[in-house]
């Protein structure tokens, strides 16, 4: 079966073509993406209205590009999988409406996919994994732990109570005057810094050991920058100390959850999965416990349509389809 995936939940319009005959096993034939970094950079972040307007211009070309790279015609496609939430509602609508139009015009069955389900199943694009497995999704918009029990069965074990981890990186970078996006800049600075130089708090959520909270850490950095010790502290030491605190706060609940589930495999996914210290520490912590860490390649960690295609294809393979009345939902629950 050949599946076309379409994703437009935030600032990237993406289309992918995968070939799959068994749930969770796929060959990616094309993975195209039309990013908008240049459009949003002057604003220091994604502006929803601009993102959706630009998606209208790029959605058709990006789908055509994916089909061309895959060497396919529309008539070769057996099913369409499209993100219907969560995300920015205006952005979601563009991809969803385009997909519905394609389905209506061609009769190709369509399924709506939860963006988070895409992240949870992304490692299957490159690895054979046995379910259940544990997944930590960390990005600019999400920080959550899920047990992936089976296709379509996901249990949320914990999530952030305030800021997403990626947001904490961006905001602390801004506090430090480092620019945008903050994750990459802090990661690079931190390599030269001493992570024990500044003592920063590691928040725990009362009675919810698998939840996360990053706003107190952000406040602690803001307070430190106002303190007498700030001028004599190097940027790299502060970046390293902050990053270490974030990594500690991500690793501890993840390992606790892995023990609770006795999970053999831990999946690390989402844009923040690119952070080198997080990969290193979580991988070591998993190994020390006799578990294995799997992180998708960067192109499948960040938003992409191949993960949406694989997340939709297990339903398409069963012969399921959604009615064309499905709508976009900004807060779609998994």
């Amino acid at each position: 079966m050949i599946v076309l995936g379409i994703e437009s939940s935030c600032d990237d319009a993406a289309a992918a073509v995968i070939e799959t005959n068994r749930p969770g096993v796929a060959i990616v034939r094309a993975n195209a993406i039309a990013g908008q970094d240049d459009i949003h950079r002057p604003y220091g972040g994604v502006v929803p209205e601009l993102a959706s307007r630009n998606h209208i211009l790029t959605i058709e070309p990006v789908v055509q590009r994916a089909l061309a790279v895959a060497g396919c015609q529309l008539s070769d496609i057996d099913g369409i999988a499209v993100t219907r939430g969560p995300g920015l509602v205006g952005s979601l609508l563009v991809g969803l409406m385009y997909a519905k139009g394609l389905s209506q015009a061609t009769g190709i069955p369509l399924v709506g996919v939860n963006h988070l389900e895409g992240h949870l199943l992304a490692p299957l694009l490159e690895n054979e994994l046995t379910m259940p497995y544990l997944a930590l999704v960390v990005s600019g918009g999400h920080t959550a732990l899920f047990e992936v029990q089976a296709f379509g069965r996901y249990r949320r074990l914990g999530a952030t109570r305030d800021d997403a981890a990626g947001e904490a990186f961006d905001k602390v970078a801004k506090l430090m005057g480092l620019g945008y996006p903050g994750g990459k800049i802090i990661d690079e600075l931190a390599r030269r810094g001493n992570p024990k130089r500044i003592r920063l708090p590691r928040a725990r959520v009362k009675r919810a050991p698998l939840d996360f909270s990053f706003s107190g850490l952000k406040t602690a950095v803001a307070l430190f920058l106002r303190s007498e010790g700030a001028p004599s502290t190097s940027e790299s030491d502060l970046a390293a100390s902050f990053q270490e605190a974030v990594v500690d706060m991500l690793v501890r609940p993840t390992i606790a959850a892995a023990r609770e589930l006795d999970a053999e495999t831990i999946v690390l996914t989402g844009g923040v999965a690119a952070n080198s210290r997080l990969r290193e520490r979580l991988s070591a912590a998993a190994a020390a416990d006799g578990r294995r860490l799997v992180a998708p390649s960067f192109k499948y960690c960040t938003d992409n349509a191949a993960m949406i295609a694989i997340a939709g294809s297990y339903r398409l393979l069963r012969g399921e389809a959604d009615p064309l009345s499905i709508d976009a939902q900004a807060n779609l629950p998994l």
Partner: protein, 165 residues
């Protein structure tokens, strides 16, 4: 827990909060007084406690505080409590106009709009609102300054003060 340190008759009211808990409680007091259609402008540096205060407002609207997450990524989060609450965050915009992003329909509705980084709105000074300005006074302590702009907010401020007396 907190003391009133100074007042500016009718339009302004300052309190010192000794903890995030006290900050949240002030949010809750304010939330419980809301009737629909109010615009609350949250002003203060990163990490000072704006979202914490809004968690309090949510409690006063019979919402669960854990449902209030940072809206920085999505910019607008909608919640259904005793009254609908739009939690808006303009942090990622350096300067934004009311008509740029369809903000007008969120800010002037029958719902509550709680707007973080309100000062980034070009028209900010011309809009009636209750401003909640939070500033650092120590590691855990904060000064919260409530300022009413417009008649309905003067009356809201008076009710908030009498509630605290």
């Amino acid at each position: 827990m907190e003391t009133e340190v100074s007042t500016h008759p009718n339009t302004s009211f300052v309190i010192d909060s000794s903890s995030s808990r006290a900050t949240k409680m002030w949010g809750r007091r304010l939330g419980s007084l809301l009737e629909g259609g109010e615009l609350l402008a949250l002003i203060g540096e990163l990490g000072v406690g704006k979202t914490c205060f809004i968690k309090g407002i949510a409690l006063g609207l019979n919402l669960r505080e854990e449902d209030i997450l940072s809206p920085t990524f999505t910019m607008i989060q909608e919640h259904r409590g005793r009254l609908p609450l739009f939690h808006i965050d303009l942090y990622r915009l350096d300067r934004v106009g009311l008509d740029d992003l369809g903000l007008r329909e969120y800010l002037f509705s029958e719902s509550i709009a709680a707007v973080e980084w309100f000062e980034r709105l070009q028209e900010a000074s011309a809009i009636d609102r209750l401003s909640v300005k939070i500033s650092y006074t120590g590691a855990n302590s904060r000064r919260i300054e409530f300022t009413a702009v417009g008649e309905r907010y003067v009356s809201l401020l008076m009710r908030l003060r009498s509630r605290s007396a």
